[in-house]
Symmetry: C2
Amino acid sequence: MSREGRTTLRDVATAAGVSVATCSYVLSGRADRTTPLPEPTRQRVEEAARRLGYKGNTAARSLRRQRSELIALVYAPPVGPWLDRLTMQCEDIAAAHGYSVVGVPVRRLDRAAQSLRVITRGHVDGAIFAPGLSDDIDLTAARRSTRALMTFSDHLEFPGVDVVRNNVRQALAEATSYLVAAGRERIAFLSHNGSHDDRYLGYVDALRQAGREIDPALVRVGAASREEAVVVVRDLLDSPQPPDAIVSESDRGAFAALQAAVDRGFKVPGDLAVIGTGNTQEATYSSPPLTSVGMHQLDFTEMVEALFARIDDPSLPARELSMPWVLNHRASA
Amino acid sequence: MSREGRTTLRDVATAAGVSVATCSYVLSGRADRTTPLPEPTRQRVEEAARRLGYKGNTAARSLRRQRSELIALVYAPPVGPWLDRLTMQCEDIAAAHGYSVVGVPVRRLDRAAQSLRVITRGHVDGAIFAPGLSDDIDLTAARRSTRALMTFSDHLEFPGVDVVRNNVRQALAEATSYLVAAGRERIAFLSHNGSHDDRYLGYVDALRQAGREIDPALVRVGAASREEAVVVVRDLLDSPQPPDAIVSESDRGAFAALQAAVDRGFKVPGDLAVIGTGNTQEATYSSPPLTSVGMHQLDFTEMVEALFARIDDPSLPARELSMPWVLNHRASA
DNA sequence: TTGTATGCGTTATCAT
DNA sequence: ATGATAACGCATACAA
């Protein structure tokens, strides 16, 4: 060993009786030589590397290649089943490119900068931001410190950042229209903070298209926490003219609605249809299982490959992919 | 800029009219010089760095320092509220040491090697393995490719690996004893695969200590999936002598028990007390909220600091910390 | 008080 | 067909 500890390329070279250049060529596995290496040499190198337990040094390789061979997957728990797929597909595709994947859970938005250190300090060549993050997080710092950025967002326009459109507004409109078509008369909307975001606007679009007025009494704010949401929905159900359907801006709010329905003796979906947003894992478990608007198409190959394309060539024009959210039908609506 | 793109230390040095060495000293923030740098010089350097947007190069730094300044947090979703705390405390402590944290979610054990690439390829200086992982994953490869490993396990003895003991067996015994003391007569155990692991043994310990026999009819296997578990518990509740309490090896099994109880008209906790294991997030949401055995103490400072101590000096003797699981009381038992 | 020189381990461009 | 060798960007012992 060179000094103390790990085996270096030079140790292998010495042991195999060839130069480090040859070893590097063999072990880094690039086949771009005009003439391929003769088998005996290659074998001697590989044998020596195996015998010495050569592992390679990512820092040295990164420095030389100007690539860390690392990508990050940024997301905010809790998440839906789609993240499993995205993670595994990322890992597979990354491995094919010689890359490894790390997760960056953003557990609190107010600490996002802290969680994103791994990106802003330049440890990764690229990052994928899950839905809902890039609208709340400033991508400027991340953009500067990595070669490629891919994000889910319906609005973001950021130079040099590729984006996947989910068409959230349209998806919420479809969910609401479904309730209208199912004969629901009084469709309520459960909002996080009362902002007129895409989800609310989709709800409005559908009602307007059905020729209905927006009833302010049916639009409620306060799904910030589950406990709060339960109180809000109970109040809604206690009103003289309770809703017969609820569209919630989040699955969390929808679960609260299911709970409040039990409390107030409303049968779901008989008396009350409930639709959530996000299609989280818990939606498949709740009782009844929750119909939820969200990610459905589970093939992320194109977006991951696009990320690697940009890592290879950052000057590529920004791409805009489409993976529309859909209504995932379960028992609650 | 040196070549194309990022500002290097040399650019800063040139701009500030000092040497690279001085810049490095100022910007890497080491105060171990015999004599501190005079203010004017330091200011000129910092000013130049800011003006040029100097970011540093982690690869070069890593190569030179033989440290990646990255640690990994390995866990298997779904997880409990404790992971939020662990993550945030890790991030804080890591930042204080100049480190960044990455998450490594192991979504499928059969793909663990794939997920652990970031560790086995030497990208991180240390890793923390969450409970339940190190008993199923071979740590050999990870141990070789990182300076420090910290893991939760009640049995693991691995040279050079620090470990946190959860005393799972004792915790399950306490949970079962609690049910005994509460007057429960027929306490069932819901097992994943029928193995006589610590959780089952704790259940047995408590019953024996109470002078009771183990009734094989009350020990059921099949909590691998939620659907399967529901079937198993329904069958249990349909038996001539149904249980009046269930201890489940997982929260997942316990949620299934709650569901089966509703199906069969058992009131929880009146007719049937239910205790889960893992203290996952969902336990606080379920109806009724689930009493669950699991992590409680939420101060991980000592273990994270121990990890950094070993990163600093890998020759340290292996440490054994203790963070006993406890019974987290909620409405279900 | 500051600068010079060297090396970290690897890859890539040349020569030979 | 293989080997010298020069970077990659930074940190540090030591010289000045």
